[in-house]
Symmetry: C2
Subunit: 236 residues, 2 copies
């Protein structure tokens, strides 16, 4: 039986041999949720970029641009880091360059994985099916908040571990902890996540609507997957 | 109001300014539990040591020695890393040198704190009182397992945060997560901890009795505190 592990923050990624594994990168609030939403609305490909300057350079090549710094949309970008931004934009057949504080950094750190996929509550079941089909040792990489763990990514990891529990061997106490937290919180996810410092930051940015949206499971069946430098959609 | 934070593993200690804080180091299974038990049975002082060779050198100066490697007592040592070992030994007025895989290393990494105390379920309430009296920004440092987080230390952190919640401001999602896990598990701690890989290792070493003992709250009222190079007892 293959194993499933949880890395609670990119600062602990050195403890795992990501190169031998399938990695699922998650940044529930909001980078991975926004990416999934963009692909569900027709986006062709997405390049995750570490710096604002990188996005602006790609913009000059015809890419659209999305992302945030301190939670707010970057000046000159087409979109912020909100699912609502990208679902209302015309993305069909387009290329997007995206940079965020935590999510795109986590992708950068985990890109040596055998395969890298993007997960969030929005594509939970489709993602779980894809992970089962691949049937490799799998590592869920939580993007966290500036190196610290965060509650919403940990809860998502717990949800995914719960879906995979019969098909994979859970390895390590982080997976156990995530599952324990998810099982306690699944019936009131919004209330639990509302207590976090990140939720409070988002409320200040009037992004409560985003938070509710990002915690909805199984809205989409698209699973973004890294293909060389770009994420591309892998519909089920 | 002062803050209370939780560092889930020494590998994340760089994220916290331990030098400005009171640190509570915890290694429930079993280093901090064994230390507390030793002081409750009359031990005068304890030097935490990183290497077996250090303990053996101190033995030649008249120290007794305790500790483990791979969970088992080190050859030539007076005691292993079990509360039952030290409660049956004659420790009154003695000095002890101790080395363990995770606990003594966590102490080493956190020793730049303003004050460093040792916590476990065994001294939970006495420790909480001491932390309240000191009333400084406080960091709970979980020893974890070889850099990984573990469930039992996280649960203890949650228990201590719960005791202090009215007197300190909880800071960061790790504290929230620990409290959430503790609140779900407090009525069946033994069953929850039994699922962990560490518990399975201990069961192989016939240390189930130790596990039950280490999860008993408030058996002792002694709080070990670092005074220069030695831990000393601070009874309430």
């Amino acid at each position: 039986m293959k194993t499933i592990e949880v890395c609670l923050t990119p600062d602990l990624l050195h403890q795992y041999s990501v190169v031998e594994k399938v990695a699922v990168v998650v940044d529930v609030l909001r980078a991975s949720s926004t990416m999934i939403t963009a692909f569900a609305h027709g986006l062709d490909r997405l390049m995750p970029v570490a710096y604002v300057e990188g996005c602006l350079a790609l913009q000059r090549l015809g890419y659209m641009s999305a992302g945030e710094r301190d939670g707010a949309k970057v000046e000159g970008f087409d979109f912020g880091n909100s699912p609502y931004d990208v679902m209302n934009g015309d993305l069909s057949g387009k290329s997007l360059a995206m940079t965020t504080t935590n999510g795109t950094l986590a992708i950068e750190k985990a890109k040596s994985a055998k395969k890298l996929m993007i997960g969030a509550f929005l594509n939970l079941s489709a993602l779980a099916e894809r992970v089962k089909e691949l049937n490799e040792n799998t590592l869920i990489v939580c993007a966290g908040w500036k190196g610290h763990i965060n509650l919403e990514d940990t809860l998502f990891a717990g949800a995914l571990v719960s879906k995979l529990g019969d098909h994979f061997e859970m390895k390590g106490d982080s997976a156990l902890a995530a599952q324990l937290m998810y099982n306690t919180s699944k019936d009131n996810l919004y209330e639990v996540v509302s207590q976090t410092s990140h939720a409070k930051r988002l409320k200040k940015l009037s992004a409560e609507k985003d938070m509710r949206f990002c915690l909805e499971p199984d809205k989409y069946d698209v699973v973004p997957i890294l293909d060389s430098e770009h994420l591309v959609a892998q519909p089920s």
